[in-house]
């Protein structure tokens, strides 16, 4: 823990084999409504139950970017990146399965590799993360390159 009370790993602290698992969060129609209203993302697959009933998933689904945002929040709450994460550099995400209201999701991640950069105060860590639901189905898979603070800067 650093002087600010931040518990995050510095770049040097991450080792091959390190993993994390987050808490679970149950998705509600309120989550969907709040997100679509505040982000102005009115795709009828998210907002129109009559439309969504006739489509692939049979009901309104949670916006994919909402699920990914919640996943980032879940990882943030593990405190492993607290006060040391400087931002995303590059991300690739596959949306594999939908999340419907009432589903519960959690995130698990695995440290893959670290990379030095031209900036001496930070390095890049690569994580592979999966979002899972309560039935053990993969909701999303992502590869995340994240800039992390170095110690003794």
């Amino acid at each position: 823990m650093d002087k600010n009370g931040h518990a995050g790993n510095y770049y040097e602290d991450w080792q091959l084999g390190d993993e994390y698992v987050s808490m679970g969060r149950t998705l509600t129609t309120t989550d969907i409504e709040t997100y679509t209203n505040y982000m102005g993302d009115y795709n009828p697959l998210y907002t129109d139950e009559e439309f969504a009933k006739r489509e692939m998933y049979g009901t309104r689904i949670a916006p994919e970017l909402l699920i990914h945002a919640i996943s980032i929040g879940q990882v943030s709450q593990t405190r492993l990146f607290e006060g040391t994460m400087l931002g995303f550099v590059k991300v690739g995400i596959d949306f594999v399965n939908p999340v419907k209201p009432g589903d519960t999701i959690f995130t698990k991640g695995k440290f893959v590799e670290k990379k030095e950069t031209v900036r001496k105060q930070q390095g890049i860590v690569n994580f592979y993360a999966e979002i899972m639901n309560q039935r053990g189905e993969i909701i999303m898979k992502s590869n995340q390159f994240i800039a992390i603070q170095k110690k003794n800067v």
Partner: protein, 158 residues
Amino acid sequence: MEENRPVGKYFEEWNVGDGFETNGHTITKADIVTFAGLSGDYNPLHTNVLYAKDSVFGERVAHGFLIVAIASGLINQMRLFEGTTEAYLGLAEAKFTTGVLVGDTIRCIGTIAEKRLTSKGGGLIKLQVNVVNQRNEVCQTRIANILIKRRPTENKDS
């Protein structure tokens, strides 16, 4: 004139190179607070003025994925995908090049980079999305992979 067709474009109505530019959105403190609440991401870069003062931005910065979310909203408000999105398949090569601060105004430039049929006859579009600020600096780039509905009268085997 087709009756009861969705407002958005069918797969066959898009051409590689087609482009659009969205309206702009000025980022506010409320946007950052709302997104921290929705996502649960309270990273002090976004929420703590004292911490952010010492960061490379010097002030609270918007979450990268807040900007992705707002950008997605701006794109959907164009109505070009309304009722014709079959499924959102993912983001590829999403790069975060410039931080977005309170008071910045972002807009999106979208270009159809590729279109092809999937092995199951689905209409796959790769949309190149560039998010730019009021100084025309590119803040984010990515490819959005989207499954778009085929026009109903088309022979789906062709």
